[in-house]
Symmetry: C2
Subunit: 602 residues, 2 copies
C-alpha cells in the first residue's frame, strides 16, 4: 500500500512509548466493548417471545421470568468475571485464565472456541444490521453482500486507526441507544404503573404445542446468547487506563447493570403491554410506539437500534486481535498476530478477522441465519473453562478472602456450564455440531504451529553454537556483457574483498563471445568464466557451476553478485528484462548461495 494512502486511512504512526496513553477510560471502554452485549437487548426479548408463543398467548407471561433468569445469569457472570479481571490486570480472558490454571489443552479449547465465536459474531451482526437497512430500503437487497463487506472494511479501518479512535467513532450511537432505551423503560413502566397506557394488542393466539421445559429452555437459550461482550472486556483489560483491572471491573459492572435493567425492563413492558411477536414489526418497535408514540423519539430509537446492531461487530474487533496476540505470544498461532501496527493495535488480527468475516458473509450471500445457532456454544465453553480455572486459582493461592471468591467463581462455572449444556443440547442439530468438529481441527493446527516454533527456537538456540563452523566463501560477479555496468560491478567486488570470479552466461550459442575477447583489456585480476547455456536458461548452467565449486573446490557458500541498473520511472522499467530480479527468485532456494543485489544508477 502506498504510504500516503496508509496515512490517510490509518493516520500517522504512533511511537511505542505512547502505548500507555492509547488506553480507554470507563466511558470509552463501554463504547468499545458494550455494543455486542447491548444489541442483544434489542432482539433478545423478541426471540424469547417467539419461542413462547408456540405454546399460545397464555405462555407469554413466562417472558418476565426468563428475563429475570437471564439478568441473574448476567449477574453471576459479571460478578465472577470482575474477580477475574482484577486478578489478571494484564488480560484475563478465558484463554489466559485456563492456560494458567487448567493447562494447555483447556486453554486451547477456550481459545479456539472464542476465535470461532468472534468471527461468527462479526458475520452475523453485520448481516443482521444490513437486514435492518434492507428492511427499510428493499431496493438495496441486491447489494447486501457489498454493503456488508464495505461495512466490515470500514470497521477494520476505524480499528486500525487505534482503540481510542474506535471509541470516539462508535461512542455516540452506543450512548444514544443506552439513553433512549432507559428512557423508554422508565417512561413505559411509569405509565403502566399509573395506568395511562393501553395494551398494544387484544389478539389471542392458540397453542400449537405444549409448554414444555425444553421450550422454556430454548427460549432462555435464544435470549441469553450474546454475552461475548463480557469475554471481550476480560481479554482487553490492557486496553484500559491504569489501574486496568479496576477500570475493566467497573466497565463490567456498569455493563451488567445496564444489560440487566434493559432485559428485565423490556420483558416487563412486553408482558404489561401484552405484546405479541409480529412478522412485520419488532417487539422493541411495538413497545417504543406504545410508549413514545410514533414521533421523534420513536424514530431515533429505531435508527440507533439499527446502528447498534451493525456495530455489535466492533466488540469482536476489540476482542479477537487481543486473543490472537496472546496465543501468538505463546506460539500457537502465527507470530505475526502479536505485531503492533502503526497505531499501536494488533493490525494483523484486525485485518484477518475482517477478511475471514467478509468471506463468510460472501459465501452465505449476506444471509447468515444458519450461523446463529453456532455461536453461543463457543462463548459459554470459554466462560465455563475460565471460571473453573479461577476456582483452581483461588484454591492454590489461598490469600485473604479466597474462600468467598472461590465460591463466587464456582457458582459462575456451574451456571455457565449448565447454560452451555442447555445451549448445545437445544441447538446441536441446528448447527452446533459443527463447532464440535471444528474445535479439534483447530487444536491440531495450534499444536502443529507450536511444534514448528519450538523446533525453530531449538535450532536457533545458542546451545547449537557448536554447529556453526567457519566458512569458505567464493564471490561470483555475474556479467552480461562488456559495458560500464560490468566495470561498476568489478569496482564493487574490489571494494568488497578484491577476490572472486566473473561469470558470463552465453545464451547466444557463440563459441568465442565478444566479452571474452575484450575482458583482458579491461580487467587483469578477476578471471572471467564463460558458461554455455544451450537452452537459453539463465539459471541451470549457473547452478551447476556453483555446485561444482562447492563439491570440487570445497567452498561452503557462494555469493552471487547481481549488478542491476536503476531506471527512473515505472514505464522505463517495463522496457528491461529484469534478469536480476528473476535470478534472485530462481536462485533463492539453492543451498549455500547468498544473493547480492547491487544496483547502480546510470
Amino acid at each position: 500500500m502506498p504510504s500516503w494512502l496508509r496515512r490517510v486511512l490509518i493516520g500517522e504512526p504512533l511511537a511505542t512509548h505512547r502505548l500507555s496513553f492509547e488506553r480507554l477510560g470507563m466511558l470509552g471502554g463501554l463504547a468499545v466493548f458494550a455494543a455486542d452485549a447491548l444489541s442483544s437487548s434489542a432482539y433478545g426479548p423478541e426471540e424469547i417471545l417467539r419461542a413462547l408463543v408456540l405454546a399460545g398467548s397464555g405462555a407469554l407471561g413466562w417472558v418476565v421470568g426468563i428475563g429475570i433468569a437471564i439478568a441473574a445469569l448476567l449477574a453471576v457472570v459479571v460478578i465472577s468475571y470482575r474477580q477475574t479481571v482484577i486478578e489478571y490486570p494484564s488480560g484475563g480472558g478465558a484463554y489466559v485464565v485456563a492456560r494458567d490454571n487448567l493447562g494447555t489443552l483447556p486453554s486451547l479449547v477456550a481459545g479456539g472456541a472464542l476465535q470461532t465465536d468472534y468471527v461468527l459474531t462479526v458475520a452475523v451482526s453485520v448481516a443482521a444490521g444490513v437486514a435492518a437497512i434492507t428492511s427499510a430500503w428493499p431496493a438495496l437487497l441486491t447489494y447486501r453482500v457489498l454493503i456488508g463487506v464495505v461495512w466490515i472494511a470500514f470497521m477494520a479501518i476505524v480499528n486500525l486507526r487505534g482503540v481510542r479512535e474506535s471509541a470516539a467513532v462508535f461512542g455516540v450511537p452506543v450512548y444514544a441507544f443506552i439513553a433512549l432505551m432507559l428512557a423508554m423503560i422508565a417512561m413505559g413502566l411509569g405509565r403502566l404503573a399509573f395506568g395511562t397506557i393501553e395494551p398494544v394488542t387484544s389478539e389471542y393466539v392458540a397453542a400449537t404445542q405444549p409448554l414444555t421445559l425444553f421450550l422454556i429452555l430454548r427460549a432462555f437459550s435464544s435470549g441469553g446468547a450474546t454475552l461475548t461482550g463480557i469475554e471481550a472486556v476480560a481479554n482487553g483489560v490492557q486496553a484500559f487506563t491504569k489501574p486496568s483491572g479496576r477500570n475493566a471491573a467497573r466497565v463490567l459492572g456498569v455493563l451488567g447493570v445496564l444489560l440487566g435493567v434493559m432485559t428485565v425492563g423490556i420483558a416487563l413492558l412486553a408482558h404489561g403491554l401484552e405484546v405479541h411477536p409480529a412478522d412485520h414489526e419488532t417487539v422493541t418497535s411495538q413497545i417504543a410506539a406504545a410508549v413514545f408514540g410514533r414521533g421523534t423519539l420513536y424514530y431515533a430509537l429505531q435508527i440507533t437500534t439499527a446502528i447498534i446492531l451493525i456495530i455489535a461487530a466492533n466488540t469482536s474487533f476489540a476482542g479477537f486481535p487481543r486473543l490472537a496476540a496472546f496465543m501468538a505470544n505463546d506460539g500457537f498461532v502465527p507470530r505475526q498476530f502479536a505485531n503492533i501496527g502503526d497505531r499501536l493495535v494488533y493490525s494483523n488480527g484486525i485485518i484477518f478477522l475482517a477478511v475471514l468475516a467478509s468471506i463468510l458473509l460472501t459465501v452465505f450471500g449476506g444471509d447468515v441465519h444458519a450461523l446463529i445457532p453456532l455461536y453461543a456454544v463457543g462463548v459459554f465453553t470459554a466462560f465455563t473453562l475460565s471460571q473453573s480455572g479461577m476456582v483452581l486459582h483461588w484454591l492454590r493461592k489461598r490469600d485473604e478472602g479466597w474462600r468467598h471468591r472461590a465460591i463466587v467463581n464456582a457458582i459462575g462455572a456451574a451456571v455457565t456450564g449448565i447454560v452451555l449444556i442447555v445451549v448445545a443440547a437445544t441447538k446441536f442439530v441446528l448447527g452446533a455440531w459443527l463447532i464440535v468438529v471444528l474445535i479439534p481441527l483447530l487444536l491440531v493446527a495450534f499444536r502443529a504451529i507450536r511444534r514448528h516454533y519450538d523446533y525453530v527456537a531449538q535450532r536457533l538456540s545458542l546451545d547449537m553454537a557448536s554447529e556453526v563452523k567457519p566458512l569458505r566463501n567464493l564471490n561470483l560477479l555475474l556479467v552480461g556483457g562488456m559495458h560500464r555496468g560490468t566495470l561498476e560491478g568489478l569496482e564493487y567486488l574490489r571494494a568488497l574483498t578484491g577476490e572472486g570470479r566473473a561469470v558470463h552466461l552465453e545464451v547466444g550459442g557463440e563459441h568465442n563471445p565478444r566479452i571474452k575477447r575484450m575482458w583482458d583489456d579491461w580487467e587483469k585480476e578477476i578471471p572471467l568464466v564463460i558458461l554455455e547455456s544451450p537452452y537459453r536458461s539463465m539459471t541451470e548452467p549457473l547452478v551447476e557451476y556453483i555446485q561444482s565449486t562447492q563439491s570440487t573446490e570445497g567452498y561452503d557458500t557462494v555469493t552471487v553478485i547481481i549488478p542491476e541498473f536503476v531506471v527512473d520511472t515505472w514505464w522505463e522499467s517495463l522496457l528491461h528484462n529484469h534478469s536480476a530480479l528473476w535470478l534472485q527468485v530462481l536462485l533463492r532456494n539453492v543451498p549455500g548461495v547468498a544473493l547480492l543485489n547491487m544496483r547502480y544508477r546510470l
Copy 2:
C-alpha cells in the same frame, strides 16, 4: 508457472543450435500463413454481392468483374512481394523494407499500422469463427466471449510449442479446405458448361439505389480486404528452410494462384447460378448445396470453412511476434519481444498478442463487427510503403534487370496506394479514422522507447569508463537477536571480508536490550550498533544510519547483509514475518545500498 505445467503445455525446451531445423517447408509454410488469406474467399464474394444487390439483381453480374479485379490486385501484390522476399531473405516485411529504403518514420508508420492490423485480425477472425459456431448451436451464445478467449489461448499455446507444431496442427483443416473448395469450383464450372445444373433462384430484387462508381468501389473494398496473409509471409521469411527467400516466394506464388482461382471461380459460380445473398444462408453454402447436393461433401466444406475462419487468426500469430522482434531489435518496442523462448519462438510476442486480442474481444463482448472497417487500412498502408521502398531500392542498386523489377514494384505501389485511398475513403466514417488517430500515438511511443534505450546504451558504454571510480564499501550485518542465526551471519561476514558492523533495530523500546548485554560474550571483532526505532519501522532508522555513514564516514556503498533462515514447507513459511523479504523490497531504492540475502538452513 511451475515447470512441469510448462513442459506439458509448451514441451521440452529446444537447444539454440536447433534453430535451423525448426523451419517450414512449402507445405508447412502454406499451412501457417495461408489461413487468413484463404478464409477471405469464404466471405469475400458474399460481401461483394451484398454491396451490389443494393442496385438490384441486374447489378449482380458485376461480381465477375470485381472478382477478376481482386485477383489482378492479388497478382500485382504477389509478384511485387516475390521480388521483395527474394531480395530480403532475412525477412522482408513492410517494416524492414521501409526502414532500409525510406527511413525511420515511414518504417514506424508501416510497423504501427501492421501491429494494429494483426491484433484486429485475431479479434475479428476469432469472433467470426465463434459466430459460425453459435449459429449452429445458439445455446452457446452466452459463452461466446469465453469460447473466443479459450480459443485464443489454445492458439497461443500451439504457437508457443513452436512453428512446426503449429503447421502440423493447423495444416489438416487448411488443406482440407483447399481441396474441397477447388473440387467445388471445378465440378461447378464443369456442370455449368455442360448445362447439367439449374440456377439456385429465380427471384428478382429491385434496385434501392443507383449503380454508382462509389458502390462498385465499396464492393471491391469489402471483397479485397484480407491480404494480411501476404504481409505475414514477407515478415516471416526466416521461418522457411533455406533458401528462405526462394521458398517464401514459392509459397507466395502458390497462395496467390489458389486465392485468385478461388475468388474468380466463386464469382463465376455465383453469377452462373444466379445466387442472391440471403439472410439465412451464406453464398458459399448456396453454391456448395447446388454443386454437391446437401450430402457429405457439402457438410465437410461447411465445417472446414468454420474451422478456417477460426484459425485465420493463426496468420497473425505467425506475423506479429516476428514484426515485434524486428522492431525490438531496433529498440522501438520493449526488448523482451526479441527474446527467444523455450521452443525457439518469440514467446513474448505470442503472449502479448493473445492478451491484447482477448481484451479486445472481451471489451466488445465477443461482437467485433465494429472493428472490421478498421482493419484493411493498416495492411494497405504497409503494402504501399513497402513497394515504394522497393522501387527506391532498385533505383539505388541498379544491378542486372533492375529496371524491370523497379517497374513491377512501382505498379505494386501505385495499385496498393490507390486501393488504400479507396478503402480509407469508403470506410473512413465507419471507423478507419481511428487508425488515423492511433498511428501517431504509436509513433510517439516508439520514439520514446528508442530514446530511452539510446540513453541507457550511451550511459552503459565503455566511453563512460572514466566515470567508474574506486569505491569504499561498508558491510552491515543485520541481527534480530542473539541466536545461532546471528553466529551464522558473523561467520559468513568473516568469510566474506572479516570487516563490518552488526546492526540491531530495537523496536521494543528497551534501553538496554538483551542482545547488547550478550554481544561481547560471543563476538570480539565485529562491533554492534543499536538503532532505536520508536515507531517500530524496520527501515527508517536503518536508512538514516546508512546515509550518515555515507555522508560523515565517506563510504560509497553500504552492503546490508540480511540473514534469513529457510523452512521446509509453504505453511511453515506463513508462520514467519519475512522481515528479510520486506527489508529487501523497502531498501531496494536507497542509493548506494547493495542488499545481500544470506539464507541458512536450520
